[in-house]
């Protein structure tokens, strides 16, 4: 078996002075070539921090422990120039808000070829421009030549997100990290962008980490899905299994909270309370205070480990004690 493109093992990230609990508390995550791995969870669960940490983009003052390997490079100990090369050649990222990631004063063409000049040393601007044109066409933009000369404000959000995807692919990355790439877009635009991402991912054989809060989207895009809560992966499984039979009460709660198009719901069953505050650092399970199946005296005092059951895993004492009892 080939080594995964992204391998995060027992990654901890603390922000002293800002958060009492670890922002990431022992995250394990792997993305192999040709695979789409989903990361779902609510705000503050640590999805984005996980993706950023994968590229060594950690907040100032953060204390990071654990091991992050991207295409064989140890991200947490690599020198700055190695990291910079890694971010342009091996891995790239697409963010939620395309406007936040592009200089509004510079033309689309400058934005795209700058990335290419950086990634491919010595390659001349003309070749970069050619690749930019090819990629703009690949992401489904109608007039590549004209778009190169346009400024970001001349394009709609959906068109600009296509440009950002083209930009991320300029360096032919092996690993693409997508952080809520379609959340700001209309649903019909989302459908187009997602199918473009899926096609490019397959054509290039890229590994993709796909972050979203939309469970149905994750189910339709990803091979495997990891569910995060309060800085931990609380469950992972194949997309199909996860949604058919969620094992962690948080995953089950998320599904029960989501309004459905297909099924008539008399009443949604929301998860009680709100996501764990950064200031709270409970002794036991981080989900215990919201859990409808909490076992008093057990869940509140004991931190569950992520336990594998076949090719899936979850972090819930409920499933571990039944197994012992059974």
């Amino acid at each position: 078996m080939s080594t995964p493109l992204l391998q995060m093992s027992d990654v901890w990230l603390r922000l002293p002075g800002i958060a009492n609990r670890p922002i990431l508390a022992g995250v394990d995550l792997e993305v192999a070539a040709g695979e789409v791995v989903g990361l779902v969870g609510e705000s503050g669960s640590g999805k984005s921090v996980t993706a950023r940490t994968a590229l060594g983009l950690v907040p100032r003052g953060a204390q990071v422990e654990g091991r992050v390997l991207v295409d064989g490079t140890d991200v947490l100990s690599a020198p700055a120039d190695r990291l910079r090369r890694l971010r342009s050649e091996s891995a790239a990222m697409v963010f939620q808000d395309p406007r936040a990631g592009i200089n509004p004063m510079r033309r689309i063409g400058d934005h795209l070829t700058e990335a290419a000049r950086f990634a491919k040393r010595g390659e001349d601007v003309r070749a970069a421009r050619k690749r930019a044109l090819d990629l703009l066409e690949a992401v489904g933009l109608p007039h590549p030549e004209r778009h190169l000369k346009q400024f970001p404000h001349e394009l709609s959000g959906g068109m600009l997100q296509r440009v950002m995807i083209a930009g991320a692919l300029m360096g032919s990355p092996k690993l693409l990290l997508c952080d809520e790439p379609t959340t700001a877009l209309d649903v019909t635009t989302q459908k187009e962008i997602v199918s473009i991402l899926a096609r490019l991912q397959q054509d290039e054989g890229m590994g993709m980490l796909f972050i979203t809060h939309d469970l149905d989207l994750a189910a339709s895009v990803c091979d495997r899905v990891h569910v995060m809560y309060a800085g931990q992966v609380v469950e992972h499984a194949s997309a199909k299994e996860l949604f058919a039979s969620p094992q962690h009460p948080y995953t089950a709660g998320l599904l029960a909270s989501t309004p459905s198009l297909e099924v008539v719901q008399e009443r949604l069953r929301p998860i009680a309370g709100t996501p764990l505050s950064l200031l709270a650092d409970p002794l036991g399970c981080t989900f215990a205070e919201r859990c409808d199946r909490v076992m008093e005296g057990l869940c509140t005092t004991q931190r569950p480990e992520l336990v594998e059951h076949g090719d899936r895993a979850d972090r819930c004492l409920l499933n571990q004690t039944t197994e012992v009892a059974g």
Binding site: S43, D186, K191, S220, V221, T258
Partner: protein
Amino acid sequence: MTALLEVEDLCKTYRAHGHEVAAASAVSFRLEEGGSLGIVGESGSGKTTTARMVVGLERPDSGRIVFRGQELSSRPRGRSERLERARAIQIVFQDPYLSLDPRVAVGAAVEQVVKLHTKLAGADRRRRVLDLLGQVGLGEREAGTLPRRLSGGQRQRVAIARALAVGPAVLVLDEAVSALDVSVQAQVLNLLTDIRELTGVGLLFISHDLAVVRYVCDEALVMRSGEVVERGSTAQLLSAPQHAYTRVLLDAIPRPA
């Protein structure tokens, strides 16, 4: 029977730099007493413009808004007319960060509205404020805190409490749950259902999310480029969409493989 709210042929065109954009063209709908009507569509479809015209924040170029048989003026003028419109129709916006004054504690923010619209004073007024906060699941503890100390879901509850303080007949919700996490969104959706049952308020529920509209609304309109392309019961819209655009919209919603 007289409808709670009847909107007839509302039109609004924006003009800028020689361009004209028809944000709403002949939008018509009826909201019955205690009913719930959804408006769905993508960005730029005219959902928000329609909502703003209904609450009197935007002046229609033409068309009528009839509230319980009485036509409302296209733009409320003067204090009494504005207060009257506010008592009939209230709105909750998408972003509770922008709709609450960051310097005013939650209880005081609700109290401002009670003070403006009722004659209650002193202990009675404070009791009413706690009642309203209680209706949206907030307690005395939250009443003393500033908005920034609250989560997004709690802030949106405050915005709903302020809207309810007036005792409106129509509550317009413009993407009011769109920015919330799914578990919190579900709490607010259930809250809206409860409030509708409890107070009989009619809901005009604007959202890009068809599943959410299905959950909240009996009927819905589908809008595109300022026009209503289809209307019907939500069940019927989802199971047997008639207009091609409704089908495109439904088709684009991700579903587990």
